[in-house]
Amino acid sequence: MVYLTRSSISLEALLAEVSSPECGGTCVFLGTVRNGPEEKDVTAIEYSAYQEMVEGELGRIVAEAAARWPGGRLALRHRLGVIPAGEASIAIVAAAPHRAQAFEACRYAIEEIKRRVPVWKKELRSDGSEVWVDPSGRPTSKPAHV
């Protein structure tokens, strides 16, 4: 596993991966498990994936970003398994000579990941129910075990 992990994501390690004297701007995106007003007492989300394909797609996204923003550097990690609310499920770090490139590369990576990378999430709620999350970000499918 290159891009996938089942442990906490170390932002520091990712920053070290891209750090370079030529890069003056670094943009980071962190996606964290949310339990806000749109959710219903989410205690954690269980992330599952088509792992072999995820590794392939993420590698392609990194290569695309490298081609599109030459001189930039991109590192990322997606966490799988049960992730408690508040912890990061994904971290993307894009460093570039100038800030516009860093922002653009980072945004590109997360948008492509949301669109292409086969990962699924199931909300685990405090009442014990489990609900698959649909791509709009809201759970709409029937509870899985009813």
């Binding site: 995820v54 990962v119 199931k122 649909d134």
Partner: protein
């Protein structure tokens, strides 16, 4: 009449689809030539629980996204993907 060649496709299920069919994968035989759509039809007809998988699901062939009209070969791996929700 010559015998029509058949291919064996390894079909993989994930997330809610895996729950619907109660398994992570299946070997499905299809007459060749065949498309991803043909594999989906076979799966939905043959596997208990698979009727609840949409007729036109997101799919991948050999670890790459593929359209339903893409062709499949003997030995290919076809994955049926619920709506992606990663990140």
């Amino acid at each position: 009449m010559p015998l029509q060649p058949a291919g064996t496709i390894r079909v993989r299920f994930f997330a809610r689809y895996a729950e619907l069919v109660g398994r992570a994968e299946a070997a499905v035989a299809v007459p060749l030539p065949a498309t991803v759509g043909d594999v989906v039809r076979s799966v939905r007809e043959q596997l208990p629980g698979a009727g609840d998988i949409p007729e036109r699901p997101l799919a991948a062939v050999n670890l790459r996204h593929a359209r339903l009209d893409a062709s499949v070969q003997d030995g290919d791996e076809v994955a049926l993907l619920p709506p992606i929700a990663g990140g």
